[in-house]
């Protein structure tokens, strides 16, 4: 995995995205986290390869997706082929077989932009695809799980594009993994093929927690209220239930030395590469998140 300077990547994205689409694009994932906590990371390069960008609202996502893809490709951004999708799709390619919009900027292959969107309705938890028909081929705009949470109250950057709030990304990951699933990372993670996706995503929650605590020792106490509001806003009919089980996956991770070690590996080779914690220190981050954020959220879920 290559190292990139988050601010450079964001600047490049902002520069390339059509002005009219910037307010519909929210950067999520490790790039967003590393830019948000750049003070903690001493503005150092971070190991990431993809700049995940969420398009919203859903009603405008397809239109914005087409415009952004066209504009970027016209400016020399290139489609990043995969084994499964060596070329963009065609008009007759089924929606579920369409490749994602993955484009590398001109002159570098170190990272690529990837477009996603929010689910159409709160009940859409599985992977859903929407077609983006561009002059250079057809692409799929993917939505899944709890991505809508990352679209709540985003942070506007100086570049004019938006960043997902780290605590919302953490909540989305917690809910996405109510248990440690067996499936491993497609293509492995930094040379290891045994890393479970759940451990990588829940490890991200721990990395966010560690970085957040480095900036403000009491910040986790703010999370339950923000999480509750977000859940009520996005999942009004089932927020109690979601809040009640938000910590299950993290709890399972903390109970398993093997899974926690995998989470540590992803942190130490990702967001926390500049100052990797020990296994015990990472466990403490989890315990702090549990005590300050998850347990109070569970308590809030018991209230009407």
């Amino acid at each position: 995995m290559k190292s990139v300077i988050p601010a450079d990547v964001l600047a490049k994205i902002a520069e390339a995205v059509p002005v009219g689409c910037r307010n519909k694009l929210t950067v999520i994932g490790s790039l967003a986290v590393s830019y948000h906590y750049r003070d903690q990371l001493n503005n150092m390069a971070v190991r990431t390869k993809d700049a995940d960008c969420l398009l919203s609202p859903r009603i405008a996502a397809i239109d914005a997706g087409v415009k952004i893809a066209e504009e970027l490709m016209n400016a020399g951004w290139e489609y990043k082929p995969t084994d499964e999708h060596p070329l963009p799709g065609m008009a007759d390619t089924p929606d579920t077989n369409l490749p994602m919009v993955r484009l590398t900027p001109p002159g570098t292959s170190e990272w690529f932009i990837e477009l996603l969107t929010v689910p159409e309705s709160p009940d859409d938890r599985g992977q859903k695809w929407a077609r983006l028909a561009t002059s250079r081929g057809h692409f799929g705009l993917c939505s899944f799980g709890f991505l809508s949470l990352t679209d709540i109250d985003p942070i506007i950057t100086d570049f004019g594009i938006r960043l997902a709030r780290p605590e919302m990304m953490a909540l989305a990951n917690l809910l996405e993994h109510p248990l440690i699933k067996r499936d491993t990372m497609t293509g492995g993670f930094t040379g290891r093929m045994d890393i479970k996706r759940s451990n990588k995503d829940l490890g991200r929650v721990l990395a966010i927690g560690r970085l957040a605590l480095g900036r403000d020792e009491d910040i986790l106490l703010e999370w339950p209220r923000m999480w509750r509001n977000a859940l009520e806003q996005q999942f009004s009919s089932e927020w109690h239930q979601l809040a009640g089980r938000a910590g299950n996956g993290l709890h399972e991770l903390m109970e398993s030395e093997q899974d926690l070690e995998q989470a540590l590996f992803t942190c130490a080779n990702g967001l926390l590469a500049s100052r990797p914690p020990t296994l015990d220190q990472l466990r403490i981050v989890g315990q702090r998140i549990y005590a300050d954020a998850i347990r109070p959220l569970e308590a809030l879920s018991d209230s009407p």
Partner: protein
């Protein structure tokens, strides 16, 4: 509702065939029912699972406990009812329900009993004569005037002989009134020095940070206040600064708390709720993040403020400064208390 969509029940201990839930000093019927129902629900998930609710020194009567258990069992499927057990332990020994524990589950249940006991610590007995001295000093520095032996006995929780011996030991520093009440005449430096040299009056536990991201005393304090503990007062630098704003220090190097434990035992479980990163250390050279000082006298002399904060008394705070080896600051605070004591007692 499947296990993914509901909040997962997490017993205190679990093996392949048994789950154990431990409750200490349970006093509410609702908590008892909640614990039994949660256990029963977990038993419904696996046919051969047995559940044990272990009550350590419960404050509910045996007939009441039996009635609650029987009532719930009557409402359960017979196969579940058979697998739900209540075990009562006092002083680390099982006093009820031992016969219901299956041989294979005995180790787990006994571990449950030790699990909770591990966080309870029996304290070495404090010197009651020193406590008498500290109370007299407190009354003097706060200008409370003379006190009777009886009041001292009740405040410390000792007999009249202990009070008499403590007063005799203070010799010329004590003023005796015609009504046989007593007070200090001045800050008895020599006796104070002796007390500091032995420091047998206080047990202290020290905790260090293991996270690499230590919480500040203020952050720990915020969490203490969320716990709403009425038996814990704030002492140390933060406490001293409340009495003496000119204390020569910037910030507080650690949080000092006074825990009132008149029965001689203390439950330190709350420390992990202040911060899971805190670990007890016996290495006095390692800078601590938290120090717990245990007050075993009957009255803690805490100052309860309207904002719900609870503060240790000034003499206690002075002890903490010396214990933290903040000798210069301690000396400054001591001089302040001595001056204030003189002023207040001269004006009485």
């Amino acid at each position: 509702m499947n296990s993914n969509s509901s909040r997962k029940y997490r017993p205190d201990l679990a093996s392949e065939n048994a789950v154990v839930e431990v409750k200490v000093s349970l006093s509410a019927a609702r908590s008892l029912r909640d614990a039994l129902v949660a256990l029963a629900m977990s038993l419904a998930e696996k046919d051969d699972l047995h559940g044990y609710l272990v009550l350590l020194s419960p404050r509910l009567s045996k007939p009441f406990l039996d009635a609650e258990l029987d009532g719930l069992k009557a409402a359960l499927r017979p196969d579940l009812a058979k697998r739900l057990h209540l075990v009562i332990s006092e002083g680390g020994k099982i006093v009820e329900g031992a016969e219901s524990i299956r041989q294979d589950d005995r180790v787990l249940v006994e571990k449950g009993i030790r699990l909770e006991d591990a966080s309870r610590n029996a304290l070495p007995p404090a010197s009651k004569q020193d406590e008498v001295f500290l109370i007299m000093l407190h009354q003097w520095v706060t200008g409370q005037g003379p006190m009777t032996s009886k009041w001292l006995e009740n405040t410390v929780g000792c007999n009249y002989r202990t009070v008499a011996s403590a007063i005799d030991r203070l010799g010329p520093a004590v003023s005796r009134c015609s009504d046989r009440s007593v007070s200090l005449k001045y800050f008895p430096e020599q006796d104070w020095g002796r007390l500091l040299a032995t420091m047998k009056v206080r047990s202290t536990m020290r905790y260090i940070d293991e996270s690499g991201q230590p919480r500040s005393p203020e952050s720990l304090l915020k969490r203490l206040q969320m716990l709403e503990r009425h038996d814990v007062g704030i002492g140390g630098v933060l406490g001293a600064m409340r009495y003496y704003e000119d204390l020569d220090i910037v910030g507080s190097p650690r949080l000092d708390l006074c825990v009132h434990c008149p029965n001689g035992t203390v439950d330190t479980e709350f420390v992990s709720r202040l911060d899971p990163a805190l670990k007890r250390t016996r290495d006095t050279h390692n800078p601590a993040q938290l120090a717990l000082h245990f007050i075993q006298r009957k009255e803690p002399m805490f100052d309860h403020k309207s904002d719900a904060s609870i503060w240790a008394d000034p003499v206690e705070c002075l002890l903490h400064l010396y214990s933290a080896r903040l000798d210069i600051q301690a000396r400054g605070f001591q001089d302040f208390l001595a001056t204030r004591g003189r002023e207040l007692n001269n004006s009485v």
